[in-house]
């Protein structure tokens, strides 16, 4: 079955300690991979869309990359305000989106 798996489930970093979050997918015929940020008690907020292997996108301290089987969200020199849950999602069938369970990131000052 097509699915999306994120790892790790939780990640604790010190401020300034760079790391990466992983999103692996098995859906065939990828039509895009989406990254969202979700703060506690709020709805997800869109970050990036990647469409083809080798593509990269950046926003402040975040950089998303895509291969044929997975995507990475690299966080460089994170700050406490980067603490959130990061979700990835891929289109499934024609009209719906399949989400991973998310990585809960905590950045300590």
């Amino acid at each position: 079955e097509d699915q999306v798996t994120q790892s790790p489930e939780a990640l604790r970093l010190q401020e300034g300690e760079s790391s990466s979050l992983n999103c692996s997918y098995t859906v065939s015929g990828l039509r895009g991979l989406f990254w969202y940020r979700q703060d506690p008690g709020k709805g997800p907020e869109f970050l990036f869309t990647l469409y083809s292997a080798g593509e990269e996108k950046e926003k402040e301290r975040l950089k998303a990359t895509l291969t044929k089987k997975e995507s990475f969200l690299h966080i460089t020199a994170p700050k406490p305000e980067d603490s959130a849950t990061y979700l990835c999602a891929v289109p499934y069938n024609n009209n719906d989106m399949r989400f991973g369970a998310g990585t809960r990131l905590t950045v300590k000052p």
């Binding site: 999306v4 994120q6 489930e9 039509r31 895009g32 989406f34 008690g41 709020k42 709805g43 997800p44 907020e45 869109f46 869309t49 979700l87 999602a89 289109p91 024609n94 009209n95 719906d96 989106m97 399949r98 989400f99 991973g100 369970a101 998310g102």
Partner: protein, 112 residues
């Protein structure tokens, strides 16, 4: 633009009661979605709509119903509420099928 709005923010239901979760978007988006999110889990699609008058089931539709009479509104109906429906419900909209989704703030529902 207000974006996607949802009401209520919180609700407690007794087993067997019914309710409607409201969702409205003011971006003239064609596609609208209802998801539920349980602790530690990703978003699960309940129902979606590709335009007024057109709805279809998602991954977890049992116990829910939807309607889409206008472009702006996409209410979710819970009939005969069960404890398994305790969750946070998010409504989302998007212009095209494979575009980024805009989410509402969510409705936290508890069924006891």
């Amino acid at each position: 633009n207000a974006g996607v709005t949802q009401t209520p923010k919180f609700r407690i239901l007794k087993i067997g009661q019914s309710m409607t979760l409201q969702c409205t978007q003011d971006m003239n988006h064609n596609y609208m979605y209802w998801y539920r999110q349980d602790p530690g889990m990703g978003l699960k699609l309940i129902y979606y709509s590709v335009g007024a008058g057109i709805t279809d089931k998602g991954e977890v539709p049992n116990g829910y119903n939807v309607s889409r009479s206008t472009t702006e509104d996409f209410p979710l109906r819970l009939e005969l509420a069960a404890p398994s429906q305790t969750s946070v419900y998010f409504c989302a909209s998007t212009l095209g099928a494979v575009d980024e989704q805009y989410f509402g703030p969510g409705t936290r529902l508890t069924v006891t």
